[in-house]
Symmetry: C2
Amino acid sequence: MDNVEISQAVIKRLPRYYRYLGELADEGVMRISSRELSELMHVTASQIRQDLNHFGGFGQQGYGYNVRNLYDEIGKILGLDKSHKLVVIGAGHLGQALSNYVNFERRGFHILGIFDKNPDLVGMKIRDVTVSPMDQLESFIRGNDIDIAVLTIPKTSAVDVAKILVDCNIRAIWNFAHVDLAVPDSVIVENVHLSESLMTLSYNLSRR
Amino acid sequence: MDNVEISQAVIKRLPRYYRYLGELADEGVMRISSRELSELMHVTASQIRQDLNHFGGFGQQGYGYNVRNLYDEIGKILGLDKSHKLVVIGAGHLGQALSNYVNFERRGFHILGIFDKNPDLVGMKIRDVTVSPMDQLESFIRGNDIDIAVLTIPKTSAVDVAKILVDCNIRAIWNFAHVDLAVPDSVIVENVHLSESLMTLSYNLSRR
DNA sequence: TAGATTGTTAATCGATTAACAATC
DNA sequence: TAGATTGTTAATCGATTAACAATC
């Protein structure tokens, strides 16, 4: 299973399937065919079947897919059946926004610590978590077996903090700083570069 | 020029070139070859030359590219030489984070209005802008010739607000709500689905 | 001029779509 | 059984990489 590498293009479509299937399940829809789903999502039925078959045959000929079952299976593929421990580094507005976002918690992403170098923010309480000073970061990650670090700090500090995170054997970094972090291959980096997203919008706007 | 459609894959790479070139310019680097840039960015030199040549010949044989010039040209391609008027809809933490982000302003994205339906947030001042109630949104957009609406509200409200925005002839929506907005083709939608990004990270984490 | 490097064409690779046999 | 729809192979399309002639 692990020997077949699945392209990131496929992976990036899974959360969208997951979202649509979750909504269908909430509406009480029991089964759906690839054609029906394709019309709903504005993609080809062929692509849906190809994508899903990378992971196994979840459907049944002549019937289609069981909505609830497919939802659960995609959840498992995405690792949403496991729980993850996170720290948020940077307690500014973005860090607060992410820390307050209830849906992450619901999907098994538990924020155990929030850190900031600004003494004015240290001690602030965000949901159940109190913001801690940066010098406690390293021992906290090691002591609490943290999987994921969320980086919502400026790019200059981000580079330095990433080094610390690697030393602490962090497994993944969700990076909101506008910089490409240089980390070993074993550490997963998922970038959210908001300014690049806005520039893409700007480009498309200027071509009208 | 407009008759050749350029793929979104190319467009999405431009902001990254722009970022690296900006940093090089700041460091005082005058010229760079596609090979040097390719080593810096970990992409192929071929791809860089192909990408750039969609928009014109910015280089010179035997010399390479003038860093400052290429930076400016990509900026123009991305529409960063023009100024844009935005409103932020949703003054929660995410809306505040984006409204406070100075770099957007510096790149010509001017936030003229911030709106929220929560009376507790109305009246709050974020940089120079005071949060207004939602019922003033429509007249504000029309009266101030707003280009871009930034949606940082829950998905249920997002669908309704998007309808209003379309009625007001908004040109683009930067959408942070976890929903696919149904708008006419003439309206550009750029989605930032944070939970999908986190799920992608989660997938990659579980395959190690 | 000789060396370097672009701009661009051709070759390769990978992803998407179409088609259909298998099967529920 | 007949109809429907999957799983999967084959065909197409598009994007990336390689190669090299043009040229600074």
